[in-house]
Symmetry: C2
Subunit: 338 residues, 2 copies
């Protein structure tokens, strides 16, 4: 396919490690010829790129749950695209696939950790959100780490965010009472009216600690934390006996230029004999199929709603990513490639 070789792949490469918020100059907007797949590989034309708070962590040097992106490498990102050339018998031209394809227009893959997107009439971006890694994170984090029982009070921070929105809905499906913490009246209205949260707490206008006392008179059985910082402390102060605190993320802390603020109320774990546990969705890779089936079923039944916030244009990547840290996105933030 001679024409392909003449095409150009635009991409964002990591140029430097950010201090505080990532800025455009931390990446190099580069171009190179579209690569050709070798035997066993295939070429993907990327259509949607998932923007996730975790991406900020991947830019840092040092040991974490995945190796850092190296300077000069394409910025890591989950993405969805279409196979346009294949030398791998398991992937055919025309297949839609998701994988860690990076912030670029084209990617070559050997199929490892790549999933096919079923053609069942569901909009493609949903497979990067509610029915993708975001949904998996919510599913396994809540059910396997949080272990909610029917009747439990489940509190979720970042409740209008991509993961938090799914967590609250699964908790309702499982018979829990749900309290979501979000920023601003619009998000609070959204999580109650659209996602079915029983109570919304607006951290921008309310004293979260007092609001949790009112909303959770019997204490918090499961706290699913995407945020960290003061909101984590407020939740620890209101735990129920034998509560479970799921540490999924800490978006309030990712851009710190000073040391992370640890939970001053951590001795609540002792007082309430509670458990705080971290989770990384990759650990559940062997069970993604199970989660995808159940999430897909709930989605088809209308019990699981999905909302995507789509920004168009690869070049908008640096500014789009920052929307997450300023709470500007409304639902799963996705970059659409032309």
């Amino acid at each position: 396919m001679a024409t392909m070789e003449q095409k150009t792949n635009h991409k964002f490469e990591l140029a430097s490690r950010p201090v505080g918020m990532a800025r455009r100059e931390n990446w190099k907007y580069a171009e190179a010829p579209v690569p050709s797949p070798a035997d066993g590989e295939f070429l993907v034309k990327i259509v949607y790129i998932s923007l996730d708070p975790a991406m900020r962590g991947w830019m840092n040097e040092g040991r974490s749950y995945v190796p850092p992106v190296q300077i000069g490498d394409v910025m890591r990102a989950l993405a969805l695209g279409r196979v346009i050339e294949s030398k791998n018998p398991k992937f055919a031209v025309g297949d839609y696939v998701t994988g860690a394809f990076g912030v670029q227009e084209y990617a070559v893959s050997n199929g490892a950790m790549v999933n096919k997107v079923p053609n069942i009439g569901i909009p493609l971006p949903v497979f990067l959100g509610t029915l993708g890694m975001t949904g998996m994170t919510a599913y396994f984090g809540l059910l396997e780490v949080g272990k909610p029982k029917a009747g439990d009070t489940v509190v979720v921070s970042g409740a209008a965010g991509a993961t938090g929105g799914v967590v609250g809905q699964i908790a309702k499906i499982k018979g829990c009472r749900t309290v979501g913490i979000a920023g601003g009246a619009a998000k609070c209205e959204y999580i109650v009216k659209q996602l079915g949260y029983d109570v919304a707490i607006d951290y921008k206008s309310e004293d979260v600690r007092k609001a949790l006392q009112t909303a959770c008179p019997k204490g918090i059985d499961v706290f699913f934390d995407n945020v960290g910082g003061e909101i984590l402390d407020a939740a620890l102060a209101q735990l129920a006996m034998r509560a479970r605190v799921v540490i999924c993320g800490a978006i309030s802390q990712y851009n710190n230029t000073t040391p992370i603020s640890g939970p001053a109320n951590y001795l609540a774990l002792l007082v309430y004999r509670a458990r705080m546990q971290g989770m990384v969705v990759f650990d559940y890779a062997a069970r993604y199929g199970e989660a995808a089936r159940e999430l897909g079923q709930w989605y088809a039944q209308g019990r699981l709603k999905s909302r995507e916030d789509i920004v168009a244009g690869l070049e908008k990547f640096p500014e789009a990513l920052l929307m997450l840290f300023h709470g500007k996105n409304h639902g799963k933030l996705i970059l659409k490639i032309a």
Copy 2:
């Protein structure tokens, strides 16, 4: 027993709530006639009083795992004494018993939460330490919350303290590698030579974080924390995958006049998919017998060593208690009543 009624009971009553370290003026050294037991009760002449870091917490107002000691009440304390008068058929004059008898010379009890001390030739103070609540705390905290497996690396803070000393010995019995953190060369020598710790780290002269990297090249599987603060943070930075952090206490934080310093490295829980969980020994009351049998057996076999640091004189209580927070005690700190 008319003579008894004329005797005087000396006691420490809580007079005010301390800010920072407790001071003598936070208690009133009071006297009153020795009380008489009613039907179903018995009178205990206290011989030994257990001094525990938790006592500082009991002096604070506010919700915790036990109600605070009220102003004017006898200061709460676990103690060991001899029954000298009884109107309860289950307790005979001459029985030695342990219970929450308070910081005083005589106590009346109805037998609730009181245990008899077996007459098997073991020195009485051991039943307030290694074979008492301290030993139970170590036993259930390590085995039920820490869940060590043979070959695991178990790190203990406050390793020369009453609880930490027992934790390390149980971990060795269970086939673990043990690393103890203690203050000063004498304590470090003690925990290695007497208690069998594989490695001692002297937090007063070593960089704990670096020392843990050296001592635990494969990471920490179980961290049993009695201390909190910087030592907890240092341990979090060196966790192994799926580590368990047992929050038993935080002696470094109990006398804070500023907010508690939370663990800035708590996101290590996410990176290492680790669990941090609080424990309170009272939750295992139904299984004390099981623990007492096993601990007693190890003690009899010489596999579990016990060391008590005994201060004589009820009146020395306020100053003796402070020894705990200055790390001045060497082994289980006990107040001997004349």
